[in-house]
């Protein structure tokens, strides 16, 4: 025990003595948290719209006004021909072209069903789908109002079904509330995986591992001696990050923060185990960082932070099971936003626990004191 305590103490001494490491561990993640949480948003705030109004009627103008009144849409131009509108789209000036046909008002009053055409620039898929969604809902409302005003109960039969939706757990759909816990989980995991992956390799590069290997130190002591200090660093970062998120973004904290930390310990042990495993197979820090990056990229892109796991293909969904980051993000969102208790996150706990055991056993097994 005394040996282990000294190993940990030595590691801490080295961490605190490293001038580059401390700011890297504290300031950089906070900056990233602030920048990413604000920037990485799926919200579509500005849709460039071109309206081709061939009708020039009272109703068509009203519709245009209603759409433009919405702050998400900005009217780029209103040409007379569709060709002009298409040119604007070709030069990427427009996201959506709305065409109002001739005799729009007249056929509506006649009780016919005039058709509007929406042409979408789908180069940016997200912008396109979300923009059309907004537009549809505005046109839908306009439709209903028009019916009541004109007094056409015949068409108004659709209006019998009223859909009232409410957003649970994030009523205002604040993106930062949703992103910040995820990004915090991601940053914590990333930093610890890199730190641990670099550490053992550094000892190999400096030759100090040679000296350690000739001592009666046990393999598990060596690995645990590396794990504990970085676990503390990870937890510290998580604490600072949570406080920062609360102060800056006022993220909800409905659940028990203790559960987050309890889970974070298991998760960080898993991630650190993977880092140490990488470290054991690399001869230089360069190799270690490349392999670590390979895993980090997969973990980040497939963790459900930027693309929902549910919308991935089935095989990719299975791939998120050995991804500790996916579980971390799921847990932090569930606990913070929904107030989930232990029972609700037991599957995440189980998977992460298995990963922690697996990665660390492999790390201890693959650390060879003899070649």
């Amino acid at each position: 025990m005394k040996i282990l305590a000294y190993l940990i103490q030595k590691e801490f001494t080295q961490i605190f003595r490293n001038k580059a490491l401390l700011p890297m561990m504290t300031i950089l993640p906070i900056v990233q948290l602030i920048v990413l949480s604000n920037a990485a948003s799926n919200e579509v705030k500005n849709v460039n719209l071109v309206v081709v109004d061939k009708d020039h009627s009272e109703q068509s103008r009203l519709l245009t006004r209603k759409i433009v009144a919405n702050e998400r849409f900005s009217l780029v131009s209103a040409p007379y021909s569709k060709e002009n509108a298409m040119e604007t789209m070709q030069t990427n000036g427009a996201d959506i072209v709305l065409e109002i046909p001739q005799n729009f008002e007249r056929s509506f009053l006649k009780g016919e069903r005039p058709q509007l055409q929406i042409l979408v620039n789908a180069i940016n898929g997200q912008q396109a789908t979300v923009g059309v969604g907004y537009l549809n809902s505005i046109i839908g409302t306009f439709n209903k109002e028009l019916q009541t005003r004109v007094g056409q109960p015949a068409i108004g039969k659709n209006a019998n079904i009223q859909i009232a939706s409410r957003n649970w757990y994030n009523p205002e759909i604040e993106y930062t509330h949703f992103m910040a816990p995820g990004i915090l989980a991601e940053l914590t995991a990333l930093l610890t995986i890199i730190l641990s992956a670099m550490n053992v390799v550094r000892e190999r590069e400096m030759g100090t591992i040679e000296q350690i290997n000739v001592t009666p130190i046990k393999k598990w002591q060596f690995i645990v001696g590396k794990l504990v200090p970085f676990l503390c660093v990870g937890l510290l970062l998580l604490t600072v990050g949570l406080i920062a998120s609360k102060l800056i973004f006022d993220i909800p904290m409905l659940g028990n923060i203790g559960i987050i930390f309890m889970y974070a310990i298991v998760n960080l042990i898993a991630v650190l185990g993977l880092g140490l495993l990488i470290s054991n197979f690399a001869n230089t820090q360069q190799q270690a960082i490349f392999v670590a990056f390979f895993f980090i990229l997969i973990f980040v892109l497939m963790c459900g932070l930027f693309t929902p796991i549910d919308s991935m293909p089935k095989w990719a969904q299975y791939f998120t099971i050995p991804n500790p980051l996916a579980h971390f993000i799921s847990v932090s969102r569930k606990v913070l936003m929904k107030g989930s208790g232990l029972a609700d996150i037991k599957m995440e706990f189980l998977y992460t626990f298995i990963l922690a055991i697996l990665f660390n056993s492999l790390a201890i097994w693959s650390y060879k004191k003899q070649s």
Partner: protein, 310 residues
Amino acid sequence: MLAITVSHISKSFGTVQALKDISLSVEDGELFGLIGPDGAGKSTLFRILTTLLLADKGEGTVAGHPIVSKYKEIRKKVGYMPGKFSLYQDLSVEENLSFFATIFGTTIEANYDLIKDIYVQIEPFKKRLAGQLSGGMKQKLALCCALIHKPEVLFLDEPTTGVDAVSRKEFWEMLQRLKEKGIAILVSTPYMDEAELCDRIALIQNGRILQTDTPEALRASYPYPLYAVKSRNTYQLLKSLRETFYTRTVLPFGDFLHLSTKEKMALDQIQNDLRTKGFEAIEIKEIEATVEDVFLELSDTEEARTTTER
């Protein structure tokens, strides 16, 4: 009891055979030198004996324990100083020392008498980071760290490489004192002059041991008459001596040339020969062979042998 025994150890790295059928033994309290040029296989042998590397063939014991089956026992009983400085550069002198003391389950105080002579020299810098020490200081610290758990056998892999002449001399004096405390020391070095300071030496080249003996016996084993020759123009002298009928080998050693002849010659005879060739200020004397002479002689034979083998 023998501190180290090595019998018929071989080790290859891919197609390169680093050690070929090595056998030697080191007694308790003996200062044993492994002398050979870079790439001779010295470090490989050290790594095998310190249980860092497994040999392909052969057996060995260190402090009475077989190197393969009882490697854990060996790690408690040996001190190892690798050729490359391998202490924590970002820890201070004191921190490094107490780190190694602790992982061996001891304290600096418990074995202070063993390292005292050496440690007092670096103690003024004990708060300084190891990475900021001078080469000689680093060596002293590394030796302290290797000694702090009172090892029975000490392995020093090229401890004086890259260290200035004064520090080298001090270092060997320290080794003599450690030997007196009953610690067996296996030390490797590429410097032939250091060989004379060992109790026994093994000359090693291309992974093969050429000869093992005391420095005196090795020197006495040199079979040919040997002369040291000096003149004003050393290079011309070397060239012309190579062409005489009586010369076996002639090699430069500092200011002098070491001339080995086929038969015993009178000093006058050589001197007259050289004078007729126009050399001036000729100095000549019969000398005893140094370890380097022996090594070069043996390595020549070894080269010849390996060439014929091919």
